[in-house]
């Protein structure tokens, strides 16, 4: 029973664009009667009302209910999207974030009237500092990339403070695209660094490029091959010796909570993705939250406002002469912080450690179970994810994309594909700890079955997916003649 593939066909619904359902005169809201006089604006200032759709309440509800049914979420099934840590998003976190005292709080109500929010943020900073082994944390960045920018700005400000700005930054070939892009925003030129044959960075290679024009290095650890950068300490020393700083992309922190504290191994700045490691929902594209942790030396550069505790009272502080400034209109994504805070309190130290251990167990189990089926470019113990590719399927003219699309028919969200770039045709599987052995076994069976189909019935793959509402979409046409609005 459990080994039956989850994917099957069902009845769902076509639904036109929301404006196609619009009819003049409908309105899905009932407004309170006004208790004050109408005060018309000067007609010179006013324009026509925007041409928004006009629907009844049921129309709106049905429209979005139907749309939702075309989507795949973690609650629908296994979502082993590498580098994305698609773990279960606890419902209780949603309840916490929706409390009137949080969701209804105005950001400018004043510290005194916001002590609950400030305490939560302060404590969350402490917890994240403890988990990462850093001295201080800012919660302001709105996502991972925003955290990277924050971190790079700190590094930039640090060098400026040292009296000499630098021009380059070392970016390993396994790095996520946001890393070089964030560095560019700070005016740094990216120096591409190849990983070694073991899939990790070699100290010598770092030493070869690190110089006094180089502001530092951006390291993701575990890296995007799912491998732990074993030489991290040495690398940090090399970079530090030349006056550089080490930026840590902590998007993969889910592998090492309670196992490694990046702040204690030489990393200077690290961002976290609360929407990965700390279970907040990804929302089909955010909002996330990308806190940044720093060592003591870098605290002066943190963005304002900073949070301080005095006796048992909390307050925002802005007079920080060396701060990089402000990165968000208010304090960042507070609603996301509430969820991550609730998660940490629910898990505790042991729970977080277990989460990392089981995330790594799940990934290694998949790696070992599938390495005879798919090519495994780096056959080494992995952390929370493992990266295969389509080398063996090429003989049958089957690509990673074909396998990914066929997985949809089997009822699984595909892994991340074609990333990291160092593995051609990468098929990057991150199961996360919240998947059970049974679901993982089903996934393994599915991949094996698909690999067999690749040999015996490749059309099943090249024609996939057949079950979802639409099949493969013409992305080339979409980009060539963009139609970005209805």
């Amino acid at each position: 029973m459990m080994t039956r593939r989850p994917g099957t066909k069902g009845l769902i619904f076509n639904e036109p664009n929301v404006w196609d359902k619009s009819r003049e005169g409908r309105c899905a809201i009932s407004l309170p009667k006004s208790d004050v006089e109408r005060a018309p604006l000067d007609p010179a200032l006013t324009g026509d009302a925007p041409d928004l759709p006009q629907l009844s309440e049921l129309d709106v509800v049905r429209h979005y209910t139907r749309l939702s049914q075309w989507n795949f979420g973690v609650d629908s099934g296994m979502y082993p999207l590498g580098s994305c840590t698609m773990k279960y998003n606890p419902k209780t976190n949603e309840v916490q974030a929706a409390r009137q005292g949080f969701a209804g709080a105005h950001p400018l109500a004043g510290d005194e009237c916001s002590q609950g929010a400030l305490r939560l943020m302060y404590d969350l900073e402490q917890y994240l500092a403890e988990i990462t082994g850093f001295d201080a944390v800012t919660l302001q960045p709105a996502a991972g990339a925003h955290g990277e920018l924050t971190g790079m700005l700190i590094i930039h400000a640090y060098h400026a403070k040292q009296g000499r700005q630098r021009s380059k930054i070392i970016i390993p070939d396994t790095a996520h695209g946001t890393n070089p892009a964030s560095a560019t925003l700070c005016g740094y030129k990216s120096v591409n660094l190849k990983s070694g044959p073991k899939g990790i960075l070699e100290p010598e290679a770092v030493a070869a490029v690190m110089d006094e024009e180089t502001a530092g290095i951006m390291i993701t650890n575990p890296n995007t091959l799912g491998l732990f950068e074993e030489n991290i300490k040495e690398i940090c020393e090399i970079v530090h010796a030349k006056g550089g700083l080490v930026y840590g992309d902590g998007a993969n922190m889910n592998a090492i909570m309670g196992v490694v504290k990046p702040g204690t191994v030489g990393i200077d700045v690290l961002h976290l993705n609360l929407h990965k490691t700390f279970s907040t929902p990804h929302g089909g594209g955010g909002p996330g939250s990308g806190p940044v942790a720093v060592t003591r030396e870098l605290i002066p550069f943190l963005p304002i406002p900073r949070l301080e505790k005095e006796l048992d009272t909390f307050k925002f502080v802005t007079d920080c002469p060396d701060t990089i400034g402000r990165l968000h209109t208010f304090y960042g994504h507070f609603g996301v912080m509430v969820r991550a805070y609730a998660y940490i309190l629910t898990m505790g130290a042991k729970g977080l450690l277990d989460a990392s251990r089981l995330a790594v167990l799940n990934a290694n189990y998949i790696k070992e179970s599938l390495k005879n089926t798919l090519n495994l470019p780096y056959d080494r113990p992995c952390m929370h994810e493992c990266v295969f590719n389509d080398a063996r399927q090429q003989a049958h003219h089957i690509t990673t994309m074909d396998m990914a699309k066929r997985l949809l028919d089997y009822g699984f969200h595909p892994p991340t594909v074609y990333f990291p770039l160092v593995v051609e045709g990468a098929f990057m599987v991150e199961p996360t700890e919240t998947e059970s052995k049974e679901d993982i076994d089903q996934f393994i069976d599915a991949v094996k079955a698909i690999a067999k189909e690749a040999e015996t019935d490749p059309e099943k793959l090249t024609r996939a997916p057949v079950l979802p509402k639409v099949t493969r979409l013409d992305e080339v046409a979409a980009a060539r003649k963009p139609c970005l609005r209805g």
Partner: protein, 444 residues
């Protein structure tokens, strides 16, 4: 631990397959010197109900835990949110999905965002809207960068000092490492951006004006457009109160090149300032310069309509260091929320709500005037305005908070030191005449 499905038996079986002797052994590639000694120092785990109690206690330390009257806006607005919105957006198919990298199983998100983009272009009168940004401030900073990149000869961007102070700080932060400079356009005695001062400025790549501005006033965007044209620079407008466009002339109608906006008013809770919704719209000409995700319409292999993320050659995952921005995750679910909200209020509702906001603000202003406040400016406004308060107001204001949970205006002195005793008030459709009358009575 209820989130972790592994039984002891599962762990043993899986370890055997993984070729590890224990869970610790899984981490054998990590040098010992790098490993944590001892556990993490965190509070004992809580059950769901201990957590509930704990969180409610925290929440209750925010004044917002009670029904409170919010006469503050300044970038975060207290609007009604219809019950269908939180229900629909919390459907896990939306909430627990990732960015729609696999379009075949993400058509819900994709069509929803495509509709969002369309409605935002309608709202603003612009050609293109992106799939969202973090907030207005970061969107505006990205606009400034676009202007600076497009106009290589200039290295300054002129920004009205009536742009939200937080947004100006963000621009500064973003510009600091680039060598570009932000120059402030001062404001006039009418609380409007000083056109004459702007005209005199040189070497600028673009100009950014917020309307309604931070004082709530409606700027003369046509005049700014003219200057931008004269100077051949990009014209950027921004706004923090999206509902203003229910009644005001759209920024696009004035020829804005780029519009950055805050969409929090569109069905999104204030949530202590975030997550809100950064809106970013531009002209077709700037399409390939825009940062962030864009959803486009296309066909599938069977000729059916469908949607995909498109124009990704602008983006970091393809272009890496040459990308138009580093943005990746944005505020997608809030964009979906805004689309739901806009579909709910519709053409009729947005006009009515916008007008209601204005009506209430006019009433509040006159009630406060009757109670001894002085209007600080005389320019037309939408739902925010500045008043000079009587001397004893700051004490009374504190008292109103503690006794009535009524937040009467935002003290402007921290933002504009010359404006001591000046308060920025906001009235939305949620405030009642009764509450405003009560305020007037209490402060008279």
């Amino acid at each position: 631990m209820r989130y972790l499905p592994h039984t002891q038996e599962d762990i043993q079986k899986m370890l055997a397959v993984a070729g590890s002797s224990s869970l610790d052994d899984l981490f054998k590639t990590i040098p010992d010197a790098v490993k944590v000694k001892g556990g993490l120092n965190l509070p004992e785990p809580m059950s769901e109900w201990e957590l509930n109690d704990h969180m409610e206690k925290l929440a209750s330390q925010n004044i917002a835990c009670k029904a409170y009257t919010c006469l503050i806006g300044a970038g975060s607005y207290d609007h009604y949110i219809p019950a269908i919105i939180p229900y629909l957006v919390s459907r896990s198919e939306f909430a627990t999905a990732y960015t729609p990298y696999q379009p075949e199983v993400s058509q819900g998100t994709l069509q929803g965002i495509y509709e969002f983009q369309t409605m935002i272009t309608d709202l603003l009168g612009m050609d293109i809207a992106t799939a969202s940004h973090y907030d207005c401030g970061t969107a505006l900073a990205e606009c400034a960068l676009i202007a600076l990149r497009k106009n290589r000869k200039a290295d300054k961007i002129a920004v009205s000092d009536l742009v939200h102070p937080g947004h100006r700080q963000i621009i500064e932060t973003y510009l600091k490492p680039t060598g570009y400079e932000m120059v402030l356009i001062p404001h006039t005695r009418d609380g409007l951006t000083d056109i004459a001062a702007l005209e005199a400025m040189d070497g600028i790549a673009g100009l950014a004006v917020q309307s309604p501005n931070f004082f709530g006033h409606i700027e003369d965007l046509a005049a700014f457009k003219k200057i931008a044209d004269d100077k051949k620079i990009l014209f950027i407008t921004s706004f923090t109160e999206a509902l203003a466009w229910g009644v005001l002339k759209k920024p696009g109608s004035f020829g804005a090149d780029l519009v950055a906006g805050e969409g929090q008013s569109l069905g999104i809770p204030k949530s202590f300032g975030g997550p809100g919704l950064g809106l970013l719209a531009g002209t077709s000409k700037l399409m390939r310069d825009l940062p962030g995700r864009l959803v486009g319409r296309t066909k599938d292999a069977n000729g059916q309509d469908g949607y995909v993320l498109t124009l990704s050659t602008r983006e970091q995952h393809i272009r890496r260091e040459k990308a138009s921005s580093n943005i990746c995750s944005n505020n997608g679910l809030n964009a979906m929320t805004a689309a739901m909200y806009l579909s709910t209020i519709g053409k009729i509702g947005i006009r009515e709500i916008a007008q209601l906001n204005h009506d209430k603000a006019i009433y509040l202003k006159s009630a406060l005037t009757g109670a001894g406040f002085e209007p600080a400016f005389d320019s037309p406004f939408f739902n925010e305005f500045v008043m000079k308060a009587p001397r004893d107001f700051s004490l009374k204001r504190a008292d109103l908070i503690s006794r009535h949970c009524l937040f009467a205006g935002l003290d402007l002195a921290p933002y504009y030191p010359e404006l001591t005793d000046h308060y920025l008030f906001c009235a939305t459709e949620k405030v009642s005449k009764e509450q405003m009358d009560q305020l007037a009575k209490e402060v008279a």
